[in-house]
Subunit: 660 residues, 2 copies
């Protein structure tokens, strides 16, 4: 123990759950750190950040500045994928204290002789730590403090800014007080924060209606998906599908022999989670798809659904991984009174949990080794939390660039926990947030609370399981609205593709969110050339996202007031304000809506007195705005939204010749 | 590692700085604990508190109930002085899950045979953990579940409340998930929360003007102090006073031979921090004072000021504990350009810090051994934080009932840190909070933020160093106002006695907060029998405090609106609402003020439709109130405040014979 430590560090931010979990960032970010740093008594203190990548032993240092009172702030860069640690330390600034007091003594006309001797010692200490020219300068100053007799000369030297800066730079940190915890940052590649997902059933990719599509067929879709601007192609499970209790069309019991079953009922005689569905092709076909996708700028996201059909090899080879019923049968999935007899859940309370965990890790490693770097995890909230923390850590230790998307539609605290445990992105409640109040409240929760530090939303207007009421009743305008919102409210979004492009909106029955004739249970014929597709609109939205860096930055979503409850207005802007985008969306899919928005111009860094040009990247109109009040008029069919890029109007009349 | 743990615990409250510091409570409190507890999947969970006194090895358990969503709450009692640890654990409620699902299955008319077998196993597990009659009942139920064939009988048994309660009581906690931290509670005796302090210079206690008072003289004051209702008598330092650079009257340089000096300039030839000032008496006199005080219900608070006069024995014997100047002299205290040459501060950065810490601990132990159990620590913020955490821990390990009051008038974060480190009570900014807005804002900060968990305010309207402007200009009404506020806004308060009773309000010079002819620097003649004293008013206030248990409870301060900015209204109420007190204070010491208050009756547990009697314990008036709007009229001289005890008006007209 060192009893001479006098500075303390408290309330470091960012910090998740007292340091239990890391925050998330991407390569190239600077991590902004704040802390309360203070000492006993009246001495001045200094503070600094310590940080290191997990591959480094020693700490690197970053400076901190006093923000206000005892609050200090600084930042450090993260340039490598992986985990960083950081902490803050504070120490007594002896030279700063001496200099501050000297100024007061000079003002009071006090005797200074002994004071200069004290200062000389401090400057000598700094000189010892310095080298080269700096050392010489410091040593020279120390000499002057010791021997110079002209007090005004001495005072000028002692209080000069450049002297202070140089001495501070080399002064030893005597007895630094360290924040008691080392906090963590998990750094991912940029796609963790900015990605556009397209979900596609490969079995629907056959060019001939009625034939089971394959991964080779899927390859032919890549240019189409790329042309719409997506960079992640997410495939539902590609493994053999169980036959026992297989579900028929529209999720019915008693499938016929031609029924293809749900891809999520994984496992059959042909294998389980590391096998290919025979009709989809071979592992080599998978490798080929991965390579071709990469060549078109698309990454394949693999679905990991840790559950088994009764025909899964695990059920025979590892019955101990499942819960047994007293009658000796394996417990199928249930949500009483509903039964899902086509699914056996894995029992994470099995005595043999170690071998189960290891096998599931093997599944990840198997696909990682083939090149998969994005896993979309099905229902992670029905598997043990501790398992996820462990397995994500294991996979990232081998393949640090791997991303995990948590498909957990469940209670907020459970979703947040999964994000904290390591999932890189998370499905959200966006799917059901339709009104202005709902959207504002939800995104404020995601962005303005601590949640932002660890949860990256991935917004989906639809999924194969969810056709929301808003899309069912709102027709094509509803699809346009939800697409604009998903693509512009967060960095990550995705659509369940063909059904979305074609604005499919017929539920299985009134009041249901299931699709009629859902692709989950039958072969569909997907056709990228079909008429009436929204593909061009989608492509435009994705192009706008790519061309405006504001959409790639995090934490810059800001809502602005409107006087019309059906119209939402928000902005995204880069930190340097070189790219400012204002989005206005008419949430009413049935009526034209108009009114006024009141922009927070100060937050946008726009001068109230100057005209800005608002260029609608969606509608292609150009408008001149001045001041915070802005008129809008949005029609569901023709123009449900504005995505306005603001451009500063650089010239004023004073620049014209006639004015001069 | 146990991989089968499925429940997690998050966000436990109370928790200070991620568990780094304990919360504070007193004997007899129940500690209310909340936590987020949840598991993966859809199983029901249970949660419970674990707690133990530091003297105990094993955990005790306290139940928790679901509050809302995944939030759970419970409480545990603290009955011993010392430190308790607590944590929360959650586990899967297998029987509860089974019972919930069974109810749904029954409603859906499903086959239940296997389900009853599953339930039988769970009931058998509980039976094994039970004994006696409970065991027999459980075993009987298990038998029924196994063999009974009448399904309605079985269903009734399985879903009965008493069955569920008994099974839950004995069901083993399988794989409980524990919150990762053990949190702490420091439990003090009740005086830590509720005390009335009286500060008295013993040297002023002589019955003859001009003679130096002694501790024996001080004894004669005890009945007087007790009669005013104080229970802590706080004495400025009683040690020998230095002669070198001794301060004269009114804090002047160059004291004459008859000048007595400041008691805080500790140390002379006669000794230091464990010696008695010869004129005050002997250690035996001190023992006698302590005993006599105890006999009148008064506890002596000792002043601990770790600083030395140049004549202190430490300066000769341990020059290494002080900072040296280059000219070889010891560094005196300074706040440049001010110099305090009569004071040498101890250097907590000394290489010999271990021996310094041990010596200072010895000082505490010396007085603890003589029976002192309250230390008022002078300027703790100018000594190292780590020292305080250590020495308070050391003293409490030997004398657990010891209380420490931090006299730190400094920046909020520093004050809060000292409280977190272990000080039982803290001086506050109350001394300078005069307006309604200031008082409301400050006490909200102290009470409604996490600060309440570790900082217990001790409110002082004046001290020997601080004669606030409000008292200087407001005359006697100002003293009445500040006394009522101090005594009723918090459990602990104190006055610098004689100067307060006599409403002394002349500053040394305009703009100064120092007293003219301050008792710090000269002998005064204190006279409890002096005319014009506020002693009766003070006695009444202290009696009201003692007679109304609402003042002893913590966290029950609630402000109510008034339409007059000069009048503040607040209430204190016991948790069971058996004692409700509403206080109204006219902060304007010059004018009569009247207006309306709007009471939050719901918070007070008072029915809006019923009449309550408001009994003014100060003015002795009685009023009938109905509904939230209440009129007040307060005059500085005659009645600056109401302290209204609310009594429910029990009888209504319906209870009279003629009504029936």
């Amino acid at each position: 123990m060192e009893g001479r430590i006098r500075a303390v560090v408290e309330h470091v931010t960012p910090e998740v759950d007292g340091g239990r979990f890391p925050v998330k960032r991407i390569i190239g970010d600077v991590v902004k750190v704040e802390a309360d740093v203070f000492a006993d008594g009246h001495d001045e203190v200094c503070a600094g950040i310590l940080y290191r990548h997990e591959s480094e032993d020693g700490w690197q240092q970053a400076p901190m500045q006093r923000l206000e009172g005892d609050r200090w702030g600084g930042q450090f860069p993260v340039s490598k994928v992986g985990r960083y640690g950081y902490s803050v330390e504070g120490w007594i600034d002896r030279f700063g204290t001496w200099r501050r007091d000297l100024t007061r003594r000079i003002a009071a006309g006090q005797e200074l002789e002994v004071e200069f001797q004290i200062g000389a010692v401090l400057v000598e200490e700094a000189a010892e730590a310095a080298a080269g020219e700096d050392r010489e300068r410091l040593a020279g100053w120390a000499q002057s403090l010791r021997h110079e007799t002209d007090q005004p000369v001495l005072a000028a030297l002692a209080t000069a800014q450049d002297t202070a800066a140089l001495v501070r730079r080399y002064s030893p940190r005597r007895f630094p007080g360290r924040y008691e915890k080392e906090l963590g940052v998990v750094v991912d590649r940029p796609r963790a924060r900015f990605s556009a997902w397209y979900e596609l059933f490969p079995r629907s990719c056959s060019p001939e209606p009625g034939r089971h599509g394959s991964l080779r067929d899927c390859e032919a879709w890549l240019p189409y998906v790329a042309s719409m601007g997506f960079d992640v192609l997410y495939l539902p499970p590609i493994h053999p599908i169980g036959r026992t209790f297989r579900k028929g069309k529209n999720n019915t019991l008693g499938a016929g022999p031609e029924d293809v079953g749900s891809p999520w009922a994984i496992g059959a005689d042909e294998g389980g989670h590391t096998s290919m569905h025979p009709s989809l092709g071979t592992l080599e076909d998978f490798d080929s798809l991965l390579a071709k996708a990469a060549a078109t700028g698309i990454e394949i996201a693999m679905d990991v659904a840790f559950q088994c059909s009764p025909d899964h090899p695990y059920a025979r080879e590892h019955p101990e991984w499942f819960r047994k019923r007293p009658d000796g049968t394996i417990q199928y999935a249930e949500n009483p009174p509903k039964k899902y007899q086509d699914i056996y859940p894995l029992d994470f309370e099995t005595a043999d949990w170690r071998s189960l965990w290891e096998e599931l890790r093997r599944v990840f490693f198997f696909w990682s080794a083939r090149g998969v770097r994005i896993f979309r995890v099905d229902n992670p909230h029905t598997k043990a939390f501790a398992f996820w923390e462990w397995v994500i850590g294991e996979v990232k230790a081998q393949y640090p660039e791997t991303l995990f998307l948590a498909e957990a539609f469940t209670r907020p605290k459970v979703m947040y926990r999964l994000a904290k445990l390591g999932f890189s992105q998370s499905y959200t409640y966006f799917t059901w947030r339709n009104t202005k109040e709902e959207i504002v409240a939800y995104f404020r929760e995601l962005q303005e609370t601590g949640v932002r530090e660890y949860l990256r939303p991935n917004l989906w207007p639809n999924t194969p399981d969810i056709l929301p009421e808003y899309l069912q009743v709102g027709g094509k305008p509803a699809f346009l609205v939800r697409l604009v919102l998903a693509a512009t409210l967060a960095g990550n979004y995705g659509i369940y593709g063909q059904a979305f492009e074609r604005a499919e909106n017929t539920p299985r029955e009134p009041g249901s969110e299931e699709y009629l004739n859902s692709e989950k249970y039958e072969l569909k014929h997907a056709d990228p050339q079909a008429a009436g597709s929204m593909k061009e609109f989608i492509a435009r939205i994705n192009r706008i996202r790519r061309e405006n860096p504001a959409f790639e930055e995090e934490g810059n979503l800001r809502f602005h007031e409107t006087d019309n409850p059906s119209v939402i207005c928000y902005s995204r802007a880069t930190g340097d304000r070189s790219n400012i985008v204002v989005i206005m969306v008419n949430l009413d899919a049935f009526h034209k809506q108009s009114g006024w928005a009141r922009l927070d111009l100060q937050a946008l860094g726009v001068d109230e007195q100057r005209t800005v040009q608002a260029h609608d990247l969606l509608g292609a109109g150009r408008y001149l705005w001045q001041g915070p009040r802005v008129y809008f008029e949005l029609s569901p069919e023709s123009l449900p939204a504005h995505i306005m890029r603001l451009r500063r109007w650089v010239r004023t009349e004073k620049q014209f010749d006639y004015y001069l």
